[in-house]
Every structure is written in C-alpha cells, then in structure tokens.
C-alpha cells in the first residue's frame, strides 16, 4: 500500500511495462553483450540516447521547481553544437585534443552566458519565464544559423566523437557524463541547502523573501545551470552525428524535457521536485521512442505514443484519480494530517 502511494510508483510501473512489452516482442531485448570490451544492448542504447534529454531535463526540473520554465533549451542545444563544430571545422588541426577542449570550453561558456541572460530577464527584470525564454527560443536558432552560415557543418575529429559515441571503462562516455552531472546536481541540491531553498521559493516566493531567502540569486543560478546543461546536451547530440544542424538539433527537446519532469512527478506549479523522477521520465520517453522504432511503426507516429503514456502517467498522479482509486480499496486512504508522534526532546 505504502509503495503504491510513492510518487515514483506509477512512473516506474510505466517504465517497467514498456521494457516488458519490448522483451515479449523481442526476447533478446534485455540481453547485454560485450564486444571489443564495450558494453552493448538495447538498455545501453536507451541510456545513451536519453543522456542529452536527461541533462536538459535536470535543468528544467530546477527551473520548474522555482515556478519557472525554460523554453530556450532546444535553441541552446543548437547553438552549442554550432559553436563547437564551427570552431573545430575552421581550426588547422581538427583532430587535436586541445582544439576539441577549447571548442568545448567556448561552447559551454557561451551556453552558460545564455542561461545567465535568461536568469537576468526572469529574476532581475521580473519578466514571466515563459516569455523571457521564448525570446531566446526564437532568436537562438537564428544565432546558430549565423554561426554555421546556414550550412549543416560537418567535421571529422575522433577526439570530438568521443563525447557522443566514445567508450570509457566499457561504458558509453555520454552515459558517464550524464551520470556524473546527475550526481553533481543531486549533491548540489540535496547536500547543500540549495534544494530546500529552491522549493521554498517555488512554493511561496513572498514568504521566502520575507524570511531573507535570496530568491533572486537562486532563480538566476538555476537558469544559468540550465543553459550550461543544455550546452552539454548540444555537444553530445552534435558529436553523435558529427554535424551541427542549426534547424533540427534539439528540436522540441524543451517539450520532451518538460514531459520528463512532469512524468517524474514535479508539479508545473513549482515547489517540491524529484531528480530521480526526472531520470525515470527521461528513460520512459527514450524507451518509448525506441519501442516505436523496434515495432516498425513509422517514427512520425511517435508523438502519439508519447502522448498516450504521458496522459496515463499524469492521470495516475492526479489527486482526483488517486482519491478515486484509493476509495475503491477497502483500507481507505491514509489521513492527510500527519498524526502527532512524540519526539524525544533534547533538554
């Protein structure tokens, strides 16, 4: 009973159901194999392909927790790839590790600045987040076009390829990067007070301000981080195909990221957030995309399946549905008010 009521229960059920459906269809689905010391398999594919989405969704989770939203992440993804590839493409030796490192540095630096810009509009100028980030959402792809001069920039640089398709210790580098950032954000929000203060600002901005919380710098930081994470995602996506497509790189990734956050149980109204939920949400979306491909359905139908899963998970989380379901169980719902529990009081 307690398990069912955990807010990650239904998202997990959805994920497991998707994996099970695939396994029934393709019995070898869950199998992993080692080839040239690298790990391969459908599960690894899912994890690797969801890495960029996860990065974008992590930032989105924090932004949404402060009652905001960031629509510009897709554009930032495009800019990031465009900057890195244009730099590498125009450098005398695109193969050198140093060139790649500088390119990565410039791209991420710029994306961080773009995040800071969003944060400035929202936290200092007080513009509604959806409008403030819409500016960069529309302008960003134009900027990326300017950088790539309207071409799809392609390069040949093994060092850069590592980011998206390389392996380290048998695992895809993309998974390791995403995993590391996930851990970093988890530590940053839960081992410091940042997470609690973000939630406080999201739940009640005025009470937080009067309690002395620096809401402005917290909101600003969150948008800056989101820009940075979207930049890393952009590097991965462009490295995967070794091309920067200003028009299509990261197209609609902002919507997938918002979906991942919502599936993960973080409310769009702000407040409490769940990083683990976002992780599961990103996996669900990626598994779904893969499932559609495996089943041989045209990829253009994918959005329909996404919509079905999303509506199912969101309905399961809706208070009204939960109440109805709980009412059918004999035990009835747990009382909403937490019962008094005597606490040992330190003298």
């Amino acid at each position: 009973m307690h398990l069912v009521r955990h807010r990650l229960f239904w998202p997990l059920v959805a994920l497991v159901a998707l994996l099970a459906a695939n396994t029934i269809n393709t019995p070898s689905f869950l199998s992993l194999r080692v080839q040239d010391g690298h790990l391969f398999g459908a599960l690894i594919d899912i994890m690797r392909n969801s890495a960029p989405l996860l990065l974008v969704a992590l930032g989105m989770t924090l932004v949404i927790a402060t009652r905001g939203i960031d629509l510009s992440v897709g554009a930032v993804v495009a800019i990031s790839g465009a900057v890195a590839l244009s730099f590498i493409g125009s450098s005398p030796n695109p193969e050198a590790v140093s060139t790649v490192l500088i390119a990565v540095g410039i791209a991420l630096g710029l994306c961080f600045v773009l995040g800071v810009w969003n944060g400035f509009l929202v936290s200092v100028l007080g513009i509604q987040p959806i409008i403030a980030t819409l500016v960069l959402m529309t302008a960003g792809r134009g900027i990326a076009m300017l950088i790539t001069e309207g071409q799809i920039t392609t390069i040949n640089s093994p060092a850069y390829r590592v980011i998206g398709s390389g392996f380290w210790l048998g695992l895809p580098v993309a998974i390791l990067i995403a995993g590391a950032i996930f851990a970093l954000v988890a530590v940053l929000t839960r081992r410091t007070a940042l997470g609690m203060l973000i939630e406080s600002v999201g739940i009640n901005p005025e009470a937080s301000r009067l309690a002395g919380v620096q809401s402005r710098s917290i909101v600003w930081t969150v948008y800056a981080l989101t820009g940075l994470f979207a930049g890393i995602a952009g590097l991965m996506i462009s490295s995967n195909v070794m091309a920067a497509d200003a028009n299509n790189a990261g197209l609609f990734i902002e919507l997938d990221a918002i979906l991942a956050v919502v599936i993960g149980g973080t409310s769009l109204a702000g407040g409490k957030f769940s990083l683990a939920g976002t992780l599961i949400g990103a996996f669900i979306i990626q598994t779904l995309t893969l499932t559609v491909t495996i089943l041989g359905i045209s990829p253009s139908v994918t959005p329909l399946f996404k919509a079905i899963v999303v509506i199912a998970v969101v309905l399961m989380q809706a208070p009204i549905v939960r109440k109805k379901m709980a009412a059918r169980r004999p035990q009835g719902p747990r009382p909403a008010v937490v019962e008094a529990k005597p606490v040992e009081v330190a003298a």
């Binding site: 406080s200 739940i203 002395g212």
Partner: protein, 508 residues
C-alpha cells in the same frame, strides 16, 4: 433626509459556515438618499452581510426586501436585477479597455446587430457627466489612477440604474484629494436619491460622509445610530464591545514594569521614515528589553509601519538607524543581517511555506542567513528544531509534518520559532495572535513578555487593544496611516485612554 420606506430592509439575517455563525439574526435598513456606514471590527460580519445583500451568499434564515418586494437572491445577477450595484475595493474592471467600453460593457447601444461605438462613447460621457466627472471616455482605463478607476466603476453601476450602491472599502488605497473627489460623487448620487452603503476603516471618513451607521460585532447587531448623535469614543467602544467603564476596569491585570532605560541609545531609530500612499513620515525609537505596541484600527497604518522597519517595503523618505548607524534598509535580507525579524500578519501568504516540513520552515530563516552553500549540519538543525518544538509547544511535535497541515496557532509558533532561531535583536510581530485559539494566544503573549525581559526589543501589533495594553511598555497610536501619538504605558494608562487617542487622533 430618510424617506419613509427603506430601499433595503434585511430582517433577522443568519448565515452559518461550518463551525462559525457569521451572522446571527441581524437587522439592517438602508434608506434612499442616505449614506449609511457599516461598522465593525475584523470578523464582525460586515462583508458577510454585504455578500448576503449582493447575492453572493445565500441566507440561512431571515428576510430581504428591496423597495418593499421580498427577494431571494440565488446569485449576484439577481441582486443586480433588483437594482443593487457593488463597487469593491479591488476594481473589477478591464484595464486594457477604454473608459467608455468599461462603463458600457454588456450594455452597448447597438444598431443593426453591431455595436454603435459612437453611441457607446456618447452614453458613457452622459453617465460621467451625471457624476460631474471630466474624464475622456476614449482614454485607456489603465492610464488613470486607482481613484479615477473607482469612479469609473461607480459610473458603470449607474448604467444598470442602481437604486442601491454598495461601496466596500473604496477609499483604502486613495489619498486625501482622491477621497474628496469620491465623496463629492457620493453626495451627487445621494442627492439623486440613491441609497449608498459605505464601508471604511477610516473614522474621519465615516464622520465626513455618512448620515447613519450600523454597528456589528461578532456577527450580531449592536445598533443603528445617527452619526451626529454618536461621538467617536462611543463608536469605538461599541465596535470593540466593551463599555468604557469596563475597559478601564480591565486594567487590574498586573502591570509590566517599564524597563529602566539605562541611558542607553536606542537600538533602532526611525527618523521621518515614510512611504507615499502607505504611511506618513514617523519617528520611532526602539530600545532593548522593551515592548512597543502599535494600536489603531485596521488600515490605520500599523502593518505599513512594521514593513518599513523591516525593509519589506522601501521607504521613500527618512532614515532608519540601527545600532546608531544611519541608513535605510535595502530589503528583508539587509534587515536580517542587522538583527531585525518580522513576522507578517498574513500567516499563509507571507509566512509559512506550506509544502515544506516543520523542520524546514523552522530552519528557513537561519539557513537563508547562512546562504545556500553552507547547509546547517543535520545535528545542529535537529537541536534547533527540537528546542523550538519543545519551547513553543508546537503540536504535532513531529518535525517532518507538513506545515500546511498544522493549525493556525501552531503555524504561528513555527514562524515565531523560525525568527527566534535567528536570535534577533528586534522582533516585529504583526498580529501574531490573530485567528488562533485562546491557549496558544496566552502562550505567545507570555513568550513576548519573557523575550523582552531577556533583552530583546519587540514591536507588537494587534487589533485587540487589551492585548497591546497588557504587553507593551510604550504604545504608538496609529490613525489614518499616521502615527498620531505615543504614550508610556504605566500604572495610570487605561484602555479608555488609548481608545480616546484612537478616536481623537491625539489632537484633543
């Protein structure tokens, strides 16, 4: 002035909400051609009565007749159809439409199925002229001040040919000149035979404009009076429900000893601190170990004063020196750094963070002070949390309970704990005992007294005068957004004295 038959007659009106009798057999009469004020403290039932009359609430028992016709209102539309129009404190108009469009909205003259815009403007000008207003009907509503918007709202009420006009706190955000303009419009309407029901917390305004008034208290009718026959002092005592003699006798409660000010400099000193539209410049000195009470009716500027002391609002004149250093506070955080804490009167909107736990709410101030990067170690947090849960008697004593599930009194204690944990030098409490049960109230009062004894400086705001009187060493009296007097609360001070000051404005 009053003609023989009332425009509105409400008899034996009762309305009950779960657990609360909001109105209990109240009678109310409103005559054509008069301005009638409805008076009472917070929660006396004023707005419930208005909502019964405007059809927002259904009545449980009683009778409403409008111009002699018995009415049962099932919604605001029916009340409007009966000729009753309401203008609320917050203007319910469309800022992005023109003045003419707002006035005529829903009643636009049409020709051949289309709106006749020229006719709209012509009609609107007619109604504006009727009230003696010189406003361009084509101008955008948002280009006008709140006062003018309110007048536009009144013009709009005239379109539906209102015979009864209800003005619910229309003056609360107007300045003196704008109030004058509103009053002249009200007089025009009254002379045209409109029955006007007026609600305001400003005594001066009540006496300037009304012909009669009805006083409510705790959902019951106290009485109906001619304004000319009821001195202010008596009005105030009727509103707070204690005869002046009884008020004076209540003072048997043990007097606090006035802390000996050992020639020390004030901890916090406000010099000509003020904010336009909120509170007129005031001087105030706060000393260690002293409770300063702010007394005055609702809307008298108590909260506004407190917010300036904390920097929750920016002052636009004057200065605030803390510990002898002159300056102005840039915001709550700056105030906190100086050792000032402020607990707002709006517990839910500006105090608790509902979806966080008791523990997180208690630690919020302390943690905000340290910044996000340095989280308070769990063990230290546990100590602070259990200390305040025990010291303040927070129930349930479960640090992981969500604060929104606690009762009002316990939420208030959590807020007190949040501030006490930051060890402030000055604690500003705005209505800390409002809406909480008697036991919790007494506990909070005791706590305030003991904090002052330990050397804290406290500013205590309450609508309940006897509470202010019991706790304070000094009392600043507020009226009409002005600090009008300051008295030392010693053996000889009585509740009657304070009431007198509130009523007279310290000018007597």
């Amino acid at each position: 002035m009053a003609s023989l038959s009332p425009a509105v007659e409400m008899t034996g009106i009762s309305i009950e909400f779960p657990g609360v009798k909001a109105l209990d057999g109240v009678n109310f009469r409103l005559f054509p051609g008069e301005v009638h004020s409805l008076m009472g403290e917070n929660g006396a039932g004023k707005s419930t009565l208005i909502k019964a009359l405007t059809g927002v609430y259904g009545i449980d028992s009683g009778r409403i007749t409008v111009f002699g016709v018995p009415q049962t209102f099932n919604g605001p539309g029916q009340a409007q159809a009966a000729g009753i129009s309401t203008v609320y404190q917050e203007v319910n108009l469309c800022e992005n439409l023109s003045v003419a469009e707002n006035i005529m909205l829903g009643h636009e003259p049409r020709s051949r199925g289309r709106i006749d815009w020229r006719g709209v403007r012509r009609e609107a000008s007619k109604y504006l002229a009727q009230l003696g207003l010189d406003i361009d009907p084509r101008s955008l509503l948002s280009s006008h001040s709140l006062a003018v918007q309110q007048l536009v709202a009144i013009s709009r009420a005239m379109v539906v040919d209102a015979k009864v006009l209800i003005l619910d706190e229309p003056t609360s955000s107007l300045d003196a000149g704008e109030v004058k303009q509103l009053f002249s419009v009200m007089r025009v309407l009254r002379d045209q035979g409109v029955a006007i029901l007026f609600v305001s917390h400003f005594l001066d305004q009540i006496y300037a404009i009304s012909d009669r008034l009805t006083v409510l208290r705790n959902g019951q009718l106290v009485g109906e009076y001619l304004v000319d026959e009821l001195p202010r002092r008596q009005l105030v005592s009727k509103m707070i429900g204690q005869s002046l003699e009884v008020l004076d006798q209540l003072e048997d409660a043990p007097k606090r000893t006035v802390a000996a000010r050992t020639g020390a400099a004030p901890l916090v000193q406000a010099l000509g601190l003020g904010r336009r539209g909120a509170i007129e410049p005031f001087d105030l000195e706060l000393y260690e170990g002293e409770v300063v009470g702010l007394a005055g009716l609702l809307g008298s500027g108590r909260t506004e004063l407190a917010r300036l002391l904390y920097g929750a609002d920016h002052a636009d004149v004057g200065e605030l020196s803390v510990g002898g250093k002159p300056g102005r506070l840039r915001g709550p955080r700056a105030a906190m750094k100086q050792g000032i804490a402020f607990s707002s009167e709006h517990r839910k909107a500006e105090g608790i963070v509902g979806d966080l736990t008791v523990r997180e709410n208690l630690m919020l101030g302390l943690q905000a002070d340290r910044g996000w990067a340095r989280r308070i170690p769990a063990r230290q947090a546990d100590e602070v949390v259990s200390k305040y849960i025990a010291a303040l008697g927070i129930r349930p004593a479960n640090p992981d309970a969500l604060v929104r599930n606690l009762s009002g009194g316990n939420q208030q204690k959590v807020l007190l704990g949040r501030w006490l944990a930051t060890a402030p030098k000055l604690l500003i409490l705005d209505e800390p005992t409002r809406g909480i049960d008697v036991g919790a109230k007494a506990e909070i009062q005791r706590l305030v007294a003991s904090l002052a004894t330990e050397g804290m400086s406290v500013v205590f705001i309450s609508a309940e005068l006897d509470e202010v009187l019991r706790l304070s060493h000094r009392i600043a009296v507020m009226r009409d957004r002005k600090k009008v007097a300051e008295i030392t609360n010693d053996e000889s001070t009585t509740l009657g004295d304070v009431v007198e000051l509130i009523a007279s404005g310290g000018t007597s």
